[in-house]
Structure formats: C-alpha cells, structure tokens
Symmetry: C2
Subunit: 366 residues, 2 copies
Amino acid sequence: MIDLSLSRRSLLAGSATSAALATLPATAAPLTKQAKRQPLMIDEQGSFAVGGSVVTAEGTVDTYAQGTTGQTLHGDHAYISYQKPVNAKPLPLVMWHGIGQFSKTWETTPDGREGFQNIFLRRGHSVYLIDQPRRGRAGRTTQASPISTTPDDQRWFNTFRVGVWPNYNPGVQFARDPETLNQYFRQMVPSTGPFDLKLTADAIVKLFDKIGEGVLVTHSHSGGLGWQTAMHNRNVRGIVTFEPGSNFPFPEGELPAPVPSSSGPVEAIAAPLDAFMQLTKIPILIVYGDFIPAKPDSNPGADGWRARMIMARQWRDAVNRRGGDVTVIHLPEIGIRGNTHFPFSDLNNLEVADVMSSFLTRKKLG
Amino acid sequence: MIDLSLSRRSLLAGSATSAALATLPATAAPLTKQAKRQPLMIDEQGSFAVGGSVVTAEGTVDTYAQGTTGQTLHGDHAYISYQKPVNAKPLPLVMWHGIGQFSKTWETTPDGREGFQNIFLRRGHSVYLIDQPRRGRAGRTTQASPISTTPDDQRWFNTFRVGVWPNYNPGVQFARDPETLNQYFRQMVPSTGPFDLKLTADAIVKLFDKIGEGVLVTHSHSGGLGWQTAMHNRNVRGIVTFEPGSNFPFPEGELPAPVPSSSGPVEAIAAPLDAFMQLTKIPILIVYGDFIPAKPDSNPGADGWRARMIMARQWRDAVNRRGGDVTVIHLPEIGIRGNTHFPFSDLNNLEVADVMSSFLTRKKLG
C-alpha cells in the first residue's frame, strides 16, 4: 500500500492533478485511476442561456395574455452549463457537441466512465458545456423543423466508425455489452429547427463576449462552427477539434476543389481574408481517430472521414502558409489505435486527454 | 469578523451544512450566505439515459447501413444528470421539472443565484435532475410532435404568476431587470413528441429501480407524474411537490367533481385502490405560492391555481382518510409571501428550501 495522504491533501486543496501526482512514487497506480477517486472541488457551477433572438407577434397583449397578439417568443439561444474547479487555470475549456448530439458528448461515457468534462475538471480546467441553438436544452426556436423519428441507429453506428453493423471494428475502443450500445444510441437528440451556420456560431460568439478568453473544444459538425466563432471573437485563444467534418473556411478565391467520397463530396466554404487571418493567430489542434481508409472505399460511413481528413490537411496548409499554427494528428500515426469518431469517450479517452493536455501545455493554453 | 475556520473545515469535510452552522454564534451571517462561498465537494457526478423504447423498421440492415430497413430507433427514455456530495445523506433527491421546462428549473435562477440543485447539494443531499421523455436532453422520441413557435411568453408570465403582463405582482419575489426576464423566457423548451402519462412515469419508475430509495421533488405538471411513479415504485420514500396542477389520482369510484375555473375545469383521474394505497404510506408535502385568488377570478392565469389548490386539498383529505400523511402548505399562510409558480427559484428560495428541509428532517427523509 502506498500512502496517498499527501497527494490527497494537495488535490483537496485544489492543486493541479498532474502536480500532485508528480510526487507519487513510480509504482503508484496511474494518475488517472488515483485522481478519479478524489472528490471534485467545485468553486462555482451553474447554467444560463446566451445569444438568441426574439420574435414579436403583431398587436397588443390581451389583458390576461390569452391568444398570441403582441406576445413574444424568445428562442435560438445556446444553453450553457459550467463548472469552475477550485484554483482553476486561467482559460476555461468550452466544449461543443457535434451533429445530432448535445452536452452528453463530454459527460459520462456510454459505458459509464468519466468523459472529458470530469477529466478536465480534475486537471484544473473550468469547463463550459454547450447545447447549441435548436438542440437539447436550447430547443426553444423561432423556426420549427419536423422531429425525425426515422430509425437510423445502425447508420450512426457505421458513420461514427464503431464498426460495420452488426460487426465492431477490430480493436475498436468501444465496450461491447448491450447496455453501452443502448446508452450510445440514446445520447442523440433531434434538432428542433433548421440549421443556420451564422445563427448558431453567433450564440457562441456572444458566449465568449460574456466569459472572456477561453479555448474551444469542438467535435465533428461543431468543427466548422468553431472556425466561424474564432473568426468573429478574439477571445477564442485556441481550438482543439476532434474529427471536424465540414465548413472549413478558405480565403475567398482560394477554395480547394471538393474532395469526392462514397458518402458524397466534402466542400470548403469561403471566408473574407481578414476573418480567415484570425485563424492564423491561435494554436489549433485537429485530431482524427482510427478506421479511416487510406484509399477510396465503398463504405460511405468510413469513406466520408477519409475525404474530411484530406480537406482538414489542405486547410492546415492554407492556414499555416499565412503564418498559422495548425497541427493535424491522426491518432494511429502516433500509436493510438482503435478510436471511433468519439475519441474523447472511447475506452482510451484518458490517453486521448493526455494528447490534448500536452497540446494545451505546449501552447501555454493550460 | 467571525472566525469561520471551524465551520469551514466541517463543510469541506462534507458535514451537513445545518450541523456545521449550528456551531456558529448567533451573530454570524445567515447560514446560506456563508455556505454559498464554500466549494462544493462532489464525490461523483455523471449522466445517463433510463427507460424508453425501441422501434425496429422491417427488413434487414443494408451492408453499409444506408436506407432504413432493419434499423432501430431508441427513444422515449428520460435523461438524468446527478451529483453526489461527499458524505451524502442516504436518500437522494430526484428533481422533476414541469410543463414546457427541463432540468433548468432546479439550476441557476433566472437572476443568477443558486437554485435547489446547488442549495440541496450544499445541505448534503445527492441530487438527480430529470429531463423527462420527449423533452430537452431526452428529445429522441419514437413519435413526433410539431415544434411550437407560437409567441406565448406573456401567457406564461401570467400563468406562472409573475404578474399580469406587463405589470409585476406587488411584492413578487422576482427580480425586475430585463435580463432576468430574458433568462426566464429562455428556460422553456418544446416537447418533441406527444405527452403520455404512463410512458413518462415509466421512465422514472425505472430510474428508481436503478438508484434505489429516494425522495421525489416535483413541480406543476410533474406533480401528477410523481403520484404515478410513487404508485408503481416503493423506492419513492417521500414526495415534496411544488404547485402540482393535474392528474391527482383518486380511488376508482371516489373521484371528486371537476373544480371549475376561468382557465377551465381541473379534473381528477382514477387509480386502482391498491396503487392509490401506496400513496398513503409515504410522507408527502404539497407547497403553493402566493397570488392565488381566494374566490373565482376572471384572470385565468391565476384562477387555474385556485382550482388546482382546491383539488390538492381534496386529494390530501382522500389520502389522509385512508391513513396517509399529506400536508398542504400555502406559503402566505405561514408568512412566506410573494412567491410565483416557481418558489424554488424565487428571490426567497432559501426560505422555501428551509421549509422543505424542515419537512425532510421531520419525516426522517433528510
């Protein structure tokens, strides 16, 4: 048995986990196993709406507010929940889900372990979780979409590269019990209104007005939303993005050709040069997982990611040519294997978190 | 200055706030003001889906899971987030929102103070927050409803008894700055599917299967859902309900007449006697706020609550006649004034929390 009383006290006092664990003998259990047993010391936690719009019906509100004349509808905001640990590092992490998802992306994993929310709280970061406009807790919308009830769980199983239904990808970092899959399918949520890139990014631009400087952590569809946000708010001091899929912005007149794939072409979008230049001023890390084919593949679920990673590398080069600091990590190339489209909740998510922590430290964002 | 070091240490060690504060001299600042400055010590926090159904499309899943044949849709579950403080009391509080709402009900108040989630965590209770099936984070549904974009903020302002638009009720415990109202209107969220009493309660029945014994804390529409849940799961050891509005269950053949109001009649529902009897076996506290007219009133927003409180008292009597332990507190009658339909987030919510804590202690649920 190892006496953990010293590190325990350090943790309770809110020191950075890594610092506290540095004092442990090398034979101690891994950092993360130990840290997980410590209480989280939360200095402040709460939630709020940010951004959004208001529509007002014509006329005057009736005495007892029956009918709709003159009434308002507040919608299209983002909903934010946050926690600040004791002695938090200066820059909060603002975590943004992908398509069909909500804050759950960063919470308890489908197999019941801690996700990036808890992992990075334990590492001393304040964590903000987004539900973007027209999704989840931010479902109040000024324009409605029909709610989809199309059975499509297996399509997502393939597109998120868990496997090719009903088979799991070999070595996939995903637990194979039925309850994990049940939880995984239930972490999706429909959009309540049409997608609007500007409207959605605007809410998070306003979030950074409110909270000040921070680091965006995006996933998949929010990758493109994150670029928009950073182009319009200098409080975004860095970006870590997992598997961005769409809406890579290039300077007007410099758009690359669409990248074909068996799930359709991946296309870039145009941005004014001065907005684009803002992306050259912050450190950016782009991470992709495993099971992305090296050559065109007839499986659209996998092949789309091949095309998106090609586009991401073209985008990295475009930003870096103008003085930017973009790194693309394809996890298998650094020996981290088996990751799906959700590396932050895969079985090896602590290893993936270490990749992110290392970037944050190296770029002085941690 | 008062030396708070002793109570501070007690709080950090996870002692009940009330116990720790009992050691303070009478001249110390109020309990809640002090406690608010202490970090929350969270032993565990996370989230999961519970209950729900699965629909399966006919046919066989296509090789690459395109189309819909053979695919499944997991929906109709509840979504639960929870926190357990260090040295938590044995019975968790399971907090359930009302109509048009989600977990936000119990979180940061519209004016930015702590809601019942944080207040009761600080008092040593584990807290589970529900998004009921087809709402908010549990929006994935097997049956769709059209998303409402009807402007109706002012109607809710009246029905929730903040005032009679555009006037605030005199002495209302609600901050009058524009941003508070903005946050208040944005804490609503549409239903993604039709309301189904049994389907909705079933998810929370399964929650109590999973977590074991606990106390339900319901609001408004979930009052009726809470009775259903408790009738079908003995792990519900007590109920505190704020302003229940509908679905009061009476034994078959013993239904009272509908109570008329200017917002329409309030009707009881029937329950099998053996299910009803379960409600006589647990302590139940029903709380109503202020601005409920004593006599029939032409303002439907307010008058509906008069009728609902009449029904609640009839229900109390029906349960207590068969040996139950139901108390109805109309807050103005015990000198607590100015409360809206959301007493737990009103400006005096710490005073309201004290009423609830006192009940929990008295009934050995705390």
